[in-house]
């Protein structure tokens, strides 16, 4: 899956499932501090990403995801494997 397609789908999840403003979704935005996602949102996000991209994200990988950019990177890495 190409990078632009991943970005588009991840942003769609963040906007639709978490009701975030499209202009708040910047690669460097911190999920917790800037986008206001809590721990339950973290679980929801992992479930949504796994369902959308048909990948599995384990606890260690999930812990590394703290910005929007890291979501893109994790999904690109997963879908290219």
């Amino acid at each position: 899956m190409d990078k632009q397609s991943v970005i588009k789908q991840v942003n769609h999840i963040l906007i639709e499932d978490f009701e975030l403003e499209p202009n708040s979704i910047k690669p460097e935005a911190n999920l917790r501090d800037e986008l206001g996602l809590d721990s339950l949102d973290g679980v929801d996000l992992v479930v949504a990403l796994e369902k959308t991209f048909q990948v599995k994200i384990d606890e260690i990988e999930a812990r590394e995801i703290d910005t929007v950019e890291k979501i893109y990177a994790q999904i690109i890495k997963k879908t290219q494997n």
Partner: protein
């Protein structure tokens, strides 16, 4: 969050003493300890009086012996917990009510979220269940940096009992989700929460009180069966494990609807159990003022 009293040294002395003198003699030493806390721990005493008044309609004249009894019961459960995990306490007897609900929930293969409370001795329940059901049990709990009391548990226990540390980071929920998807049991409390957690007000013992939505949201997200379960002390080395029928999210049900229903089931079950065992609910702060 409520902070624990006591130091690592204090906990070390507690566990060492238990190992040397055994559960029964250590039990005698609890009386002066409970007496000490009754007259020195003013915030906990006020919280206990307030709670006992709501749960057991204790009046002022009953409150000092009531609070002493409350502290004594708490220290007994701590001692039993340590004795079970350290295997120094002799034989404990467990009676199960509703165990079939847990067995049926495990058999679904989608994980079981056991929601308990700071009531009775839930760690003993987890330890006992993983042996009886032959399924891994993950206990989700707050382990503070120097919480020697909690640190003793995983070290002293063996088998399929794990700890998920909720203090670690925001992603402990993912760890719980993974355990549930492996078909394991995740045991956690439903009567305490982090600041900024999602919460809901429920009528509890006749007054509005705040409860966390987290465990119930997690059950909805994971599709795991949610079973409300308590392990109450019924006598010397005797415990009763009480489980309620599983609550499972129907695919057609909204998440908000499920969470609301499951929280009502939980609060009703909690009220029922602490009315039966009023001295065994251990939240040492004004629960209704959170």
């Amino acid at each position: 969050m409520q902070r624990q009293r006591g130091t690592a040294l204090g906990h070390w002395i507690f566990y060492s003493l238990l190992k040397i003198v055994g559960r029964d003699f250590a039990g005698v030493l609890l009386y002066p300890v409970a007496f000490y806390f009754t007259f020195t721990s003013s915030a906990a005493v006020r919280a206990s009086q307030n709670y006992l008044n709501k749960a057991a309609a204790f009046w002022q004249w009953q409150s000092v012996p009531g609070v002493f009894g409350h502290f004594l019961e708490f220290s007994r459960t701590l001692l039993d917990r340590a004795a079970v995990f350290m295997q120094t306490g002799g034989t404990f007897t467990f009676e199960f009510i509703g165990e079939s609900y847990i067995r049926e929930a495990v058999a679904r293969g989608k994980g079981v979220l056991l929601v308990s409370a700071h009531a009775g001795n839930w760690e003993i329940a987890g330890n006992c269940l993983q042996k009886r059901l032959d399924v891994p049990v993950q206990i989700a709990m707050f382990m503070h940096g120097k919480d020697a009391h909690s640190v003793h548990l995983p070290k002293s226990s063996s088998g399929k009992l794990g700890i998920i540390n909720l203090s670690d980071d925001e992603m402990a929920g993912v760890e719980m989700l993974r355990a549930l998807r492996r078909g394991e049991i995740v045991a956690m409390h439903g009567d305490r929460f982090f600041p900024k957690s999602r919460v809901r007000r429920e009528i509890f013992l006749g007054h509005p009180a705040t409860f966390p939505e987290g465990p119930f949201q997690l059950a909805a997200i994971s599709q795991a069966a949610l079973v409300v379960c308590f392990a109450m002390r019924t006598g010397r080395r005797r415990y009763q494990l009480v489980a309620e029928p599983a609550v499972i999210k129907n695919p057609a049900e909204t998440r908000a609807g499920f969470v609301s229903q499951a929280m009502t089931v939980y609060v009703c079950a909690l009220e029922k159990i602490i009315k039966a065992y009023p001295m065994q609910w251990f939240n040492w702060y004004d629960f209704w003022k959170q």
